[in-house]
Each structure stands twice: as structure tokens, then as C-alpha cells.
Symmetry: C2
Subunit: 219 residues, 2 copies
DNA sequence: TATAAAAATGACCGGCTAGTCATAATAATT
DNA sequence: AATTATTATGACTAGCCGGTCATTTTTATA
């Protein structure tokens, strides 16, 4: 939790501060990110960071929470029951994700980089919690689909859920591996993750949906 | 490449040296791994490392090459054409992988940890090469299956290949997330990655094959 | 055994990090 | 205007790291 001092900052200074650290954590993993380099870049004293936050982890945790909250504003209102099948719901999540990415590029970059922190020892605990939560969400979604007879019953929900989770991560990884997106460059230029690649992303999502449909839908 | 001095070492000393570093790189990512801590653990001087190798990267690269070569001895002789379909071949790779794991636990742990080095900045180049090679292998396999009419034609080989690659990584990740395997503990105890979990692994592989069959096989 | 070649050593270097804290500058209150 | 509370500062600490190299120890040769 930020200290009171941080909340009393003038909004534009708070934003400058926040953005600089979002950028750093979007470019480097938690342990590789350097507070020292960010404060020098910002032109403020290092001590200031510790006027606002208890330590590096406190700052990082705050950014995660804020980023997740903002993204939730984009996708939180989507309800599975408003869609005829899971895959249209799944696609809608990506469509709203693109909007979030366009309007909050830095936070989007930051959140995408989060998955790279699996093995940053300093935040193992934090990360494991997030992972478990996410995996559980996917598992629950799969369970619902099985319950209403849409997904296959011969594979455990745990496996289908985890498979789905990994497949959704693979979409981004594929765009990265194929050179369609280049976060490092986008961050430098202040552009969204999927800048000018929104259609490529959604086409890839559609391909993955085609595969996943065949994989998980009840025959 | 190791220096001449390294090859002249007595076999048991060379093995002790190699094993200690395999262990370190199996527990930590490249940048987090500490030569200093390994040499103190080995009871040798830090300068010795630089009598054997040019630098940290040279040592790491050597271990990767050696590990890959040993594993190739286990799976290299398997030919797709010796199996009636891709999935039996796929399963055979895992069966031989288990044997490799049993007989070379440290190298197995080391190779499994490799994928965590995606973002270690010091070996970005090395890692990207390995990734590209691996992805290409999967893509080529998929192309062959498409050519003989076994895999679907409506999804690009690139996507199917990448999907397959990610799915195979997901198998290990799932066992990890579900707590079936615990590399950190296994390494401490000198046990293989899949110690007493060989059956769990192969059952998971079978589940994934069931899913992947439905996903990629031509209808 | 004396000499020469090879190998092992560890103190030391420069560079980096997160975090601290007495001091100074600024803002708010009286 | 004077006093008090708040905020900003940056030199400093302790702890890491990879890598170096003059020196010593060990091994091989003559």
C-alpha cells in the first residue's frame, strides 16, 4: 500500500512517477528492474520512492493492483451468459482487451510482462497466488461449460482449464515469436502492445478458437 | 568452448565441477546463477573457473550443448516413420524422455529450467536461436502431417506447430502448478524431475494427446 | 634432483543493487 | 512574520556480482 504522501502528490506528478515505473517493470522482470535508474530518469531523489512506498515490492504490488483494476473496468462487465457460446465470450474478452491496450498502453505492456516473473525469486509468493487465481478462473469456466454439456467430459476440468489458460498465453507468445509485435520498441515509442496489429491479433485469436473448439467442445 | 585445461581434468573432478554448475543453473536463471556461490560450495578458487572457460556464458553454453547431446542419444533414434501415427511417436518421445530423466537427473533438471531463461538479458541471443530452432522443428513436423493428410489444412502450419510446441511445454507446467513435481526439492535430493511421477506424467501426456488429436487431426 | 611448464589460488577491482537517514527545502499553520 | 509540519534530497552503507592477475603450488620433463 502506498503511503499517505503518495496520494497527496499532484496528479500529474503522480502519473509521471507511476508511468516511469510501469515502463521499467514492462521492460525488465521484477528483480532486473532498477529503482536507481528510474529515479535518475525521473530526475528525483531515490529517497522519494521510500517516502511514497515501503519498498520495491510495495511499489510493484500497487502497480499490479491498479493495472488489474483498470483492466477489470474493460472486461469485468462481460458475462458468459450474454453470449450464445463460450468462444464468442472468449473473443469478446480479446476485443475489449484491445480497447484497454489502446487506451492504456503502458499498463497493458506492464500486465503482459507480468507472466515473465514466474521465476523472479523475490516475488515468487505474489506470483504463485496470481497464477493459482487465474488457473482457478479458467478451471471454473470449463466446469460450467461441462455442466451445461458444451465441453467434453472425458478430460478432467483441471486439464482443460490449464490447457485453455496456456493456449491464451500462447497467442501473445506466437505474435512475439513471429515478430508481429515488439514490446521493447512499442514501449520506447509509447505505443500499445498491439499497435497496428489489432487485426493480426484477432485473426490469430480466431485461429486459436478454431483449434480450441475442436479440442474442447463436446463432439 | 572449454579451454584445454578443462579437458585435461581428472574425470571425477570434471564431473564434480560440471554437476555443481548444472545444479546452480537448474535452480536459478542464467543471470541469477552465481559462480561465486558455486565455487565456494565446491571449495575451489574462483579463478579456476576462468582456467577452464572464457566466461560465464562460455560455461553455460558448454553445459547446454552437452546436455542436448546426451538427451539426443535417448530420443535421436526415434523416427516418425517407425510409428503408425504422429501421436504414438509423440508419446514415445516422452517415454524416452523419462528414461533420460531417470539416468541423468541433473541434466534433465537443467534442460527443463532452460525455458525459464527467455528473458535473461545476457543470453537473449542464445535463447532466441534455440527457440527458433525448436519452433521450426515443430512446424516441420506439422507440415509433414498435413502433407500426408493427417493434420487439418484449414489452420496454418505455423500456428499448429507453435500450438503443439506450447502444449508440450504446458504438460510440464501443469504438473508443476498442480504440485505433482517440485524441481527445487528434487534437485536438493538428487532425484529426477519426474521421480515416482513417471506414470502421472505419462497419463497427463495421454490426456494432452487426446486433446491435441481432436485439435489438430483432420476430421 | 633441478628445471620448466601447467594449474590453482584468492585478494582485489569496478560496477551494480535496495535501502537508510541526517539535512535541507518547501508548505501549512499560527 | 515566525513557527511548525511535511516533503524532498543525495551521500552513504552493506551486499552482491563477474572477472582479473601476480603469486604460489603442483605436475611433468630433463
Amino acid at each position: 500500500m502506498p503511503k499517505a504522501t503518495f496520494n497527496k502528490l499532484k496528479p500529474d506528478k503522480r502519473k509521471q512517477f507511476t508511468d516511469a515505473f510501469l515502463r521499467e517493470f514492462a521492460l525488465h522482470s521484477y528483480d532486473e528492474a532498477s529503482l536507481t535508474s528510474v529515479v535518475s530518469e525521473l530526475g528525483i531523489a531515490k529517497g522519494s520512492v521510500y517516502q511514497y512506498f515501503n519498498d520495491k515490492l510495495d511499489l510493484f504490488t500497487f502497480l499490479v493492483g491498479e493495472g488489474a483494476a483498470v483492466k477489470a473496468n474493460y472486461i469485468g462487465h462481460l458475462k458468459r451468459t450474454d453470449f450464445p457460446d463460450f468462444w464468442l465470450y472468449f473473443r469478446a474478452l480479446y476485443e475489449r482487451g484491445v480497447k484497454f491496450d489502446l487506451e492504456n498502453p503502458l499498463q497493458s505492456h506492464f500486465l503482459h510482462k507480468l507472466v515473465d516473473n514466474i521465476n523472479s525469486p523475490s516475488i515468487q509468493h505474489l506470483y504463485k497466488n496470481m497464477l493459482d487465481q487465474t488457473v482457478t478462473v479458467f478451471e471454473k469456466m470449463v466446469e460450467s461449460e461441462i455442466a451445461i454439456g458444451k465441453f467434453r467430459r472425458d478430460i478432467p476440468a483441471k486439464t482443460q482449464g490449464f490447457f485453455l489458460y496456456k493456449a491464451s498465453l500462447a497467442i501473445n507468445d506466437q505474435l512475439l515469436a513471429l515478430g508481429e509485435i515488439d514490446p521493447k520498441k512499442s514501449i520506447e515509442k509509447g505505443l500499445p502492445v498491439f499497435h497496428k496489429k489489432e487485426e493480426v491479433l484477432l485473426r490469430t485469436v480466431d485461429q486459436y478458437i478454431e483449434i480450441l473448439k475442436a479440442a474442447l467442445d463436446k463432439r
